[in-house]
């Protein structure tokens, strides 16, 4: 596609339920990132993929959070037993070239609301 696509754009769930968020990066982009953005906060790094492997998972807040990437393309972020503090916008970004001049292309995000 022309840009990074995320689905769903909005997700409302009940506390304790599991949710899956999907990211389709730009074709050919090998690096993929997940960030979380809460109201009044900056972007909080969650996880980084290079191809299908995740060299850096240091930002995942707890073991309720997991992510995978298959075929070097689509990625899924899963949150198990959701809590109200998980409510935020989850942003995915992809890039082609690592290094100081790396340019991240962001999707429009998934707004997650946990009731």
């Amino acid at each position: 596609g022309a840009g990074v696509s995320q689905s769903p754009s909005n997700k409302v769930t009940e506390k304790g339920k599991d949710v899956e968020l999907r990211c389709d990066p730009i074709s050919g982009h090998t690096a993929l990132y997940w960030y979380r953005q809460s109201l009044g906060q900056g972007l909080e790094f969650l996880i980084y993929f290079q191809g299908n492997s995740a060299p850096d998972k240091s930002g995942l807040p707890s073991d309720r959070f997991s992510a995978e990437r298959t075929g070097g393309s689509v990625s899924t972020l899963t949150i198990q037993r959701t809590q109200q503090e998980d409510s935020a916008v989850y942003l995915c970004a992809s890039s082609f070239d690592r290094g100081a001049n790396e340019k991240l292309f962001f999707g429009s995000g998934t707004q997650l609301s946990v009731l």
């Binding site: 972007l43 980084y48 970004a93 100081a100 340019k103 962001f106 429009s108």
Partner: protein
């Protein structure tokens, strides 16, 4: 943890005014980026600065990287309502092929017609 402090947090100005906003850290960065984010959208990259003291211009926007590569400023000349948005700075640390961007909390700019 490398922290980026952005100031001011909120800014509301009249169309045609000039403004400068800041991004500061105690850490040295190999590069620093500025993004603009509009409601309901993801951030969009405006500029990357790499060299200490570097100045880059993008139409009415002027970006400067501090000599010590710890801070940056964004100056907007004759602001327009279309400049309204959240401005995020992001720094990349100096070591590691797997280094990641650290984002500030952003500056919310509102330009009134």
């Amino acid at each position: 943890t490398q922290l980026l402090e952005q100031s001011p947090q909120f800014l509301s100005i009249q169309e045609g005014e000039n403004l400068t906003v800041y991004c500061n850290s105690s850490s040295v960065f190999s590069s620093l980026q500025w993004y603009r984010q509009e409601p309901g959208e993801g951030p969009v990259l405006l500029v990357t600065v790499v060299t200490g003291g570097e100045v880059k211009k993008l139409k009415r926007l002027t970006f400067q990287f501090g000599d010590a590569r710890k801070d940056s400023s964004l100056h907007i000349t004759a602001a327009q309502p279309g400049d309204t948005g959240l401005y995020l700075c992001a720094g990349r640390n100096v070591t590691g092929a797997n280094s990641k961007l650290t984002f500030g909390k952003g500056i919310t700019l509102s330009v009134r017609p």
